[in-house]
Amino acid sequence: MSVPLLQLTRVAKSFGAVRALKGVSFDLRPGEVHALLGENGAGKTTLMKVITGAHSPDEGVLEIAGRRVRHLSPAGARRLGIACIYQQLALFPDLTVAENIALRLDTPHALERVRRQAQRERARQLLQRLGAAVSPDAEVRGLSLPAQQLVEIASALGAGARIIIMDEPTASLTRREVELLFNLVRGLRADGAGIIYISHRLEEIFQLADRVTVLRDGESVGTRVLRAEKQPRPCDEADRAAPAPGSAPTPAATLVEKDGAGGARRPPPIAVQSADANVTAGELIRLMVGREVSQIYPPAAGPAGGSVLCLKDVGCAAAGVHQVTLELRAGEIIGLAGLVGAGRTELARVLFGITPADSGEMVLAGQPVAIGSPRQAIALGIAYLPEDRRRHGLVLDLPVAANITMAIHRRLFPGGWLRLGAERSLALEMIRALAITPPTPETPARSLSGGNQQKTALARWLAAKPKVLLLDEPTQGVDVGAKSEIHKLIRGLAAEGLAVLLISSDLPEVLGMSDRIAVMRGGTVAAMLPGHSEAHVVMAAALGQGEGSVA
């Protein structure tokens, strides 16, 4: 067996009293995709940061290509060929795409001239290989989240890295972009790179990964082989022939030119380790949470009630939304499906008054309304859980309790005097209901893990007891156990009479949770489909190739 690209032995890391990693052993072989699964707070992000040199472990041994490495720094990790695409993107919003990529890839001498043209060209090539329709001169601040992610992936790949870590890379990508990414990953794997793939999407892991390791509470609870491990047959000269003239080299292969592997294709490998039999999603989930969790979505309690919010030809030119006609009814969950860029988040922002509507009519509980600001929307009983919770869903410097009560100040604190006791008990109630860890209301929001921050943001809106709940990717980056809890909560809220609009890129979630599905395309509702429709019908409508456009 070849030397592993990366080997971690009994690595431990604590932050004050919190033991994030309790002695994790992990290895990555060349030419494999090794998935990493775990609930929020299990230690995946910390493990990644140890590998990339952002944190130094308290105990344990880190070996790269068989050589022990001490005191790894981020720059050192980059030099050793480790690249990482974080879940929380680390781009510079005021610089262009080309400048961002150049910053990642080049380490120029301080007095060296900036070669703009070459940088732009390289950025353009990298983006083209990813099939990304992003201009190298675009300012990152103006790019959507998925586009920013593609820039991150382009710069990581452009560095010719051998160890690539991807943290939830497909969270905001369309199906087409996901497929392109998978092809890239497969190409990298074929060239001997190792990819650590962190994702909550089990179907992707089964599609892509060779092995999967499950972390729980800072420990590794098991590694399963999904695909037989293959050993490359020794190459001989004949196999090293250059690709036939006239045939275009595969995009993924040319990306690792820096490695010297060129465009040579390897001969078919020999299997040396068979896959573990019967690795099912259920078993992985059980390893992750330590208990059985079903993936069935909670059903509707009863038929929908009266109309709560009725939209007629609503549009907002600035947001690119036009002629949206939709009715949200009490007790009903409407799933808003569509490709990235179809206008789902934009519609939610119009409904919440962030970008107010400039055409059409809105009727809320029988009264015509004009929603001009978030404050007005909240007063009218509309709640919005935004897509990017870290940037705008929470005030990170304030504690969990303060964040939870932020939207209900008028009601909870009449007269402007804060009743800290009442706030604390409400916060404890929410913490219990949503299983937020750590369960102390005084924790600053900044120190929670991603999934727990999401739960706190959700708790804020649950506390507001709204009439209409707009959820934008509520389970993004949340682990399977918590996802199921949140689904039950959403269904429970609907049963209490709320009208819920659920935006999600997770198609099974949309299909499983919605009573009706509104498919958006090009800034308007292209089709209304019944809940539990077939995935391909929804996708066809989203792509504009559908029959069955029932308004």
Partner: protein, 309 residues
């Protein structure tokens, strides 16, 4: 307790300094000069409290010295025109609030950076005052000094007033919704807006409040001597920002506690008399104060870096 770690360390530093003075310069501890020192610093404490709130909301106001001077002079002129004290004091506060509102309208209303706006108003008001008064001092009527009380009673009144303002603001920032809004807006204005808070109104309010406190401080200054110097208040902005920063207020907004401001101000204020009693050249005052500021900010930075790594 961990939440107050910064304030406690400032208090600790102050205590250490006072103990060192007791050991090496016991001449520092004389009742009358100490009382005078505290009285002189009382208006600065009031302004520093306002400045702390401004910093927490992620803004800055460097025009406070000019506001202070304008309000002092106008209060003096009103008093010289035989207005009763009960009317002069509110007038000074209202004038300060109006000046603050001007800052606030430009920063919150037009979205201009606060450092640029308050730099402009600092210069404009100072120069306007100079042009108006031509450097002339204002002679105050007799009954005004020390509120018409004996000197020591007046001094204790001023000190007590400053402490009351500090306590009110410290408690209010923690127990009033408005206080929390200031922290939220300073930490992340967009997140606050999405939660239904009005960031622009909050910012406007902070500047108005700052101006009102500058006006109050101006009034507190006026009653301390029989004349008003139109050049008073120069350097006040630096002193109060330094006191806030030493006391733990983050310039990046969203964090910090008002109690620390008291420690910061006292620590910086005792440097000058301490030097006198230690028979050190008084020129070292600014350098030592600068050292204290650097030390406080560096300690915070190192502590934060250790926590992250």
């Amino acid at each position: 307790m961990r939440r107050y770690s910064r304030e406690l360390s400032v208090a600790g530093a102050l205590l250490a300094a006072l103990l060192a003075l007791a050991a090496f310069a016991p001449g520092f501890y004389q009742a009358q000069p100490l009382l005078s020192l505290l009285t002189r610093e009382a208006p600065a404490l009031v302004v520093a409290c306002g400045m702390a709130l401004v910093l927490i909301s992620r803004q800055i106001d460097i025009s406070v010295g000019s506001q202070f001077a304008v309000c002092s002079v106008c209060a003096g002129l009103l008093a010289a025109a035989q207005w009763p004290l009960a009317l002069v004091a509110p007038a000074a506060v209202l004038l300060g609030a109006a000046l603050g509102a001007f800052n606030g309208a430009l920063v919150a209303g037009l979205g201009l950076p606060s450092i640029v706006v308050t730099l402009a108003t600092m210069v404009a008001w100072r120069e306007g005052l100079r042009w108006l008064r031509q450097g002339l001092w204002v002679d105050l009527p007799d009954g005004l000094q020390w509120f018409g009380l004996r000197q020591s009673a007046g001094q204790w009144t001023l000190i007590g007033l400053a402490l009351v303002v500090l306590a009110a603001l410290a408690l209010g920032s923690r127990h009033l919704a408005a206080g929390r809004f200031v922290y939220a807006v300073g930490s992340d204005a967009e997140a606050a807006r999405l939660a239904g808070i009005r960031p622009r109104l909050t910012t406007f309010g902070v500047f108005v409040f700052m101006g009102a406190l500058a006006g109050l401080a101006g009034m507190m200054n006026v009653v301390q001597s029989p004349q008003v110097d139109p050049n008073s208040g120069t350097g006040l902005e630096l002193k109060t920002i330094a006191a806030a920063v030493v006391g733990g207020i983050a310039v990046s907004g969203g964090r910090g506690n008002l109690w620390g401001v008291l420690g910061g101000l006292l620590l910086l204020a005792c440097v000058s008399p301490a030097l006198t009693h230690l028979h050190v050249e008084p020129h070292w005052e600014k350098a030592i104060q600068g050292g204290i500021i650097l030390g406080a900010v560096a300690a915070e930075g190192l502590h934060r870096r250790k926590g992250n790594r």
